[in-house]
Each structure stands twice: as C-alpha cells, then as structure tokens.
Amino acid sequence: MITSLNITSAIPEIFLSIASVALVAIFSFVQSKRKAVQALYASIGVLIITLVMLIRNFTSVDSHAFLGMFIVNPFISYAKVLIVVLSIVSLLLSKKFIKMCAENSRFEYPIVVLFAIVGMLVMISSGDFLTMYLGLELQSLSLYVLATFQRKSLKSAEAGLKYVVLGSLASGIFLYGVSLIYGYADSISYKNVAIAFAHHGYNKVVIIALVLVLVGMAFKISAAPFHMWVADVYEGVPLPVTTFFSTAPKVAGLIILLRVLTEPLNHLTHDWGQVVGLLSILSIVSGGLLALRQENMKRMMAYSSVLNIGFLLIPIATMGLSNNVHSVNAHVSILLYLTLYVVANIGVFSVLMGAMDENKNSLTNLKSFSGLASKHPFIAVLYTIYMLSLTGIPPFAGFFAKFYVLKDALSAHLYVIVAFAIVFAVISAFYYIRVIKVMYFDKFPENGGAVMELSQAGLVIATIAGAILAFFFLAPGGLLLDILTTLVR
C-alpha cells in the first residue's frame, strides 16, 4: 500500500525544519556576546535558502507528498513565497529589538520565528485536517512565545496571556468542528471529505461542524466578532513582533481558510457563503468604527487589520454565494489584496519602529507624529503614501486591491456587502488621513517631539514599500496581475 512518501515537493519545509532544529542545537553551545545577532543572521540565511528552494519548486501542476497529505500548487507556492519574504523582512527589521532583548544572550527569537514559518508553510499546503491542525498549532504556539518574549514588560505578558487563552479556546472549537466532520465523512483528508459530501449530501451536524471550524479560523485571522484580542495583543507586544503578527500569519490564515472552504467543504458553498459574508460585513463595520477613536498607532493598525480582513473575506463570500469555488478572479483578487496590504503594513511598521523620544523609548502615539513633515519630509511622504494606499485612493496600490475585490462582488450581485464595504472604506479614510493631517498641519512640539531614527534596513524597506505602493499602477501592477492570473489558472 505504501509505495513512497514522495517527499520532493515538501523539500523546502523539510529543509527549514531541520535547519531550525539544527540552529537551536548549535546556538545552545555558542559562547558569544553577539549570539543573538548571529542567530538572527543565521535564520535570515536559512530563510533565503528556503526561498530559493520554494521558487525552484514552482510547478505548473499540482504535486503531492506524504500520500496526498501535503499538496503544492502554484497558488499555494505564491503564498509560501510571500510568507517567507515577509518573514525575512520582519526579521531584518527586528535587529534592534533583538540586541535590546539579548541582555542575557537570549537567541531564541529568530529561531521561534522560523518554527512559526514551518507551521504556516505546512498548514497552507496541507492535504488533510490533521496536517493542517499540526501546522496551525506549531504556528500558534510559536506566536504565543513571540508575544511574551519581552518578559519584563507587563503589557507583553498580559498580551501573551490573552493570546494563549483565547487562542487555545479557538483551537479547541476548531478541533471540535473537525471531529464532527470526521464523524460524518469518515475521513479527514480534504479530497475524501469532499467525496463523502458529494455522495451522501450533508445534514445539520455538518453545518454545526462548519460553523465551529469557521469560528476557530476566524479567530486566527482576527475577523470580527472574534477580534477582541487583536488590539491588546498588537499594543502589548514589541513592534517587530507586531510587524510579524500583522503580516505572515494573516496570509497563512486566509489562504488556509480559502482552501478549507473550497476543497473539503466545496459542496456546502451556500452555507459557508452566508457565514463568511456575515463575518466580512461585521469585520468591515467593527474595524471601521473601532479604529476611529484610537490614539495609539498600534491599536489603530490592529483595527485597520480587522477592516482589511473584512475586505479579504469578500472574495471568499463571493465564491460561496455565487457557487463558484474555482473562480480565478476571486483567487487573484485575494492574492493581490493580501500582497498589497502586507506591503503597506510592513511600511507603516518599519517607519513606526524608528520613532523614538529623546530617551530612545519607542513612541507609538499618534500625537508624537505632529509636525513630522517639517523635520523629516521624506518619511512624511512615505507615510502619506502608505495611508493613502490603505484608504484606497487612486493611483495608489490599495485602490486596485479594493477595486478588484469589489468588482468581483458586484458582478456576483452582492450589493449589500459592497455597500457596507464602500461606506466603511470612506469612514476608514477619516483615521488614515488624520495621520497625514497630524504630520503636515499640526505644529512640531517645542520639546519632546519624535526623533526618527530608522535603521538602514528599515529605511530601505520603507522606501521599497512606498515605491511599490506609489508606482504600482505603472509597470508592476500589470506584471503582478499577469503573474497571479497565470499562477491561479
């Protein structure tokens, strides 16, 4: 029966996990004061090798490993490349934090990031629920550790504790849903579950299972009404960790949500279409409204992520409600939106990391940006680009992302969702553009204004992010769209 595990398509993940374990072993014995920074460089090196392997692994057809429990196709490969690139960027940005935390040679931070990436990669190319759950747990457990990594900070501990408790509750709910699906379909592999539903139809138990699975996953991507943890966690954890949290896990969570809904549950489109549509509307509304009153940039970006998750759920809802799980447009618009959203996020956080007061304490309050344009005009321009892009004002990239999402939904006649999306995009413009107003029209405070001390890597990354967002409508936009369309086909 067992002919071969056929591991070739899983080689990047296997390499990454072996390398991470090896790094743990090596750095446990390294006696050096710069141990933490060395671990950081080693991790970035490992990630770059993984990236090369992933790109070499691009195939135009589906390939399987581990007897179909591990699936690679171009759509998944693109998401994987995106995740690894994001992780490299966020590790590059976290050098200062690692130096600060390394007071007693704690080298674990970059290595735990590596484990989180292993979890995400395995999760999004899983072919059955068991593999997926293990990937999800590996990712979540690593994220819990990262959240509490700054152990002397009370806020970090609080954020970590909230994240652990709510996260494990969500995992439990998800697992209960999966167990009901297994009980009904007598299988946990995506393919066989789909076959079982095709042959036997489904009953109310499956609907409950579907809802439980969706609740668990909605928590992981912080879609409303399961978003309560997100602001506290974003605010409590150190900035490099926030950067990582708000990018890579979101990509992984959304891709796996899409895959779980369109592969094993593809006969339940009408049921999950409604649920995802509701989640989407709730996220858009609560993300739009809750961010209005935030004075802290981290909290604002947290609610902005809830809003954007709402937008990202629209294509999935469209697929469900129009009963077309193989819609190329929806897949492309999700990948496009994800890419542009994380680029804007990386930009915002890389600049935010440079904001200090005179005592080198990190500043995240909106007020501390007042009059920034007079002191640091270049950074102010970059920030303006990010904010306009997040708002969705043409010709910046965010507009195209929103445009494709909404165009697709409109052609499927989802007028209610589109109406909510447009209204709350306008409302969100208030808090995005308020940042620009604070930077350009408020006076720079006489004493105690923000000092911008971006690291070189931070400045380069921020500039690249700004350039991508600003010039997307010229060459890169069409190129990216072409690439994505060919990948998804």
Binding site: M69, I111, V118, N192, N203
Partner: protein, 252 residues
C-alpha cells in the same frame, strides 16, 4: 457475548456519569485544590471510556500524561500560588447568566442536529479508519504500523510542536545571569591539590584565650573570600568549606 452487552453498557454509563459529575465539580468546587483533584478524577474516567472503546493506547496515554504529569503540575501550581478564590468566583457568577444562555442555545443546536443524524455507514473512503477496522491486532500494533510510515510527517510535526513548547518555556523563564547560581565545575574540583589550597596561617600565641573565637572569625572571612572566588571561577561551596577545614587542622 450478547449476554454481556448490558454489562458493557452499565460500565459505560457509570464511567460517563462520574466523568460528567466530576467535570462539573472541577468548575464549581470552592477550593482550587479540590478542582484539580476532580480534574484528575475526570481524566481517570475519560481514560476508562477510551479503554472501553478499544482505544487503549490513548486511554493509557491520558492516564500517564494528563493524570500523571499535567494534573500533578497543576496541583503544585495551585498550591504554591496564593489565589484569591473569591474574586474568581465573583467573575463566574457575573458571567453565569450569559454563559448559561449561550451554552443552552448551543446544547439545543447540538441536540437538534444529532437527533436528525443518519450516519451513512458505508465507509466510502477508509484512509484513517484502517486502524479501527483491523480488529485482529491490538490498537498499539496498529498505531505502530502507521505512525512511522504513513503518518511520518505528522509524527515529526508533533515533535516540532513539543520542541517549540520547550524552547518557549525555557526562554521565558531561564535567567542565566543570576549571581547566586551554584554551579559545579568538575574539572576544577579534580585539579585541586592540597598544595594550592592549604594555607598556613600564623596565629599569635598570646591570644590563647580568644583562640577559638579568632579562628572562627578567620574561618568566616576565609569562606567569604572563597565565596567571592567561586563567583568568578565557579567553585562550589563545598570547596570553600573543605579548605577552611584544612586550615583549622593546620592551625592546630
């Protein structure tokens, strides 16, 4: 065989009943220590249910890992940490109405759903249930057959999850710059000879009356210096003790 069906059912219901009752006591008992003890009882009953269903490996794992290790750790934590149970219970009472309503709604949904469940007992796709179909061999044999072959990557992923758990726990709790660590450097201990540890201290003869006191003073200062040495070259405490002993004999 059929005559024993009722016995099987009886055993099942007894364990299930005790399981539910003790689970309720975990939540509602006033003393947290009692809660943990009831938790252990819950684990025991759950493992009995597993064994009853023929999944003896999971049953025994539950006993060994959860009842044997996790719950005992819980007990330690609960006993060591001073918890104000009143505030916790206050929160419970406050949240109880909402929780009760939500729980009842969910229960009603589950009942409605399960009543209408007609299982398509056809096993169209048996990829996982091969372990449960082969009744000839024991559960553990079945697991052994698939866990390192078919589910190899899952086994490895489980290992990674545990490794991250360990890594996280260590990096969050280990403080390796503590000054009062007593570590033992064995090679240094073995290298010690009496030549470089024995020191002759000249004591003055006229202080005969206070000799005892003085020597004791000297001893304490000696241990002090030895201690400060031990910080730099990590001698153990034993060393300094023995050195002062030698010194005492030398004096005599």
């Amino acid at each position: 065989m059929e005559n024993y069906m009722w016995l099987n059912a009886l055993v099942f219901y007894v364990f299930a009943f005790v399981l539910i009752i003790s689970a309720l006591f975990v939540v509602f008992s006033k003393n947290p220590v009692h809660s943990v003890l009831f938790l252990i009882l819950t684990f025991f009953n759950a493992s009995a249910l597993f064994i009853l269903e023929g999944a003896e490996f999971i049953g025994f794992t539950l006993l060994v890992v959860y009842a044997g290790a996790v719950a005992i750790m819980f007990l330690f934590v609960v006993m060591f940490i001073d918890i104000d149970t009143h505030t916790i219970k206050g929160g419970l009472i406050k949240a109880l109405p909402v929780a009760l309503i939500l729980g009842l709604i969910f229960l009603a949904e589950l009942i409605v759903a399960f009543v209408s469940w007609k299982i398509p007992l056809t096993h169209v796709n048996s990829d996982l249930n091969l372990a449960f179909h082969a009744t000839q061999v024991s559960n553990i044999t079945d697991l052994g057959l698939v866990i390192y072959t078919r589910f190899f990557h899952i086994f490895q992923m489980g290992g990674l999850v545990l490794l991250v758990g360990m890594l996280g726990a260590i990096s969050l709790t280990l403080r390796d710059k503590r000054e009062d660590f007593k570590t033992q450097d064995i090679s240094q201990q073995l290298e010690r000879t009496y030549v470089n540890t024995l020191r002759i201290v000249q004591s003055e003869p006229q202080k005969n009356d206070n000799e005892k006191k003085d020597s004791e003073n000297e001893k304490s200062t000696e241990t002090d210096t030895a201690n400060s040495n031990s910080n730099s070259n990590s001698n153990s405490n034993k060393d300094s003790d023995s050195s002062s002993d030698i010194e005492k004999t030398g004096e005599k």
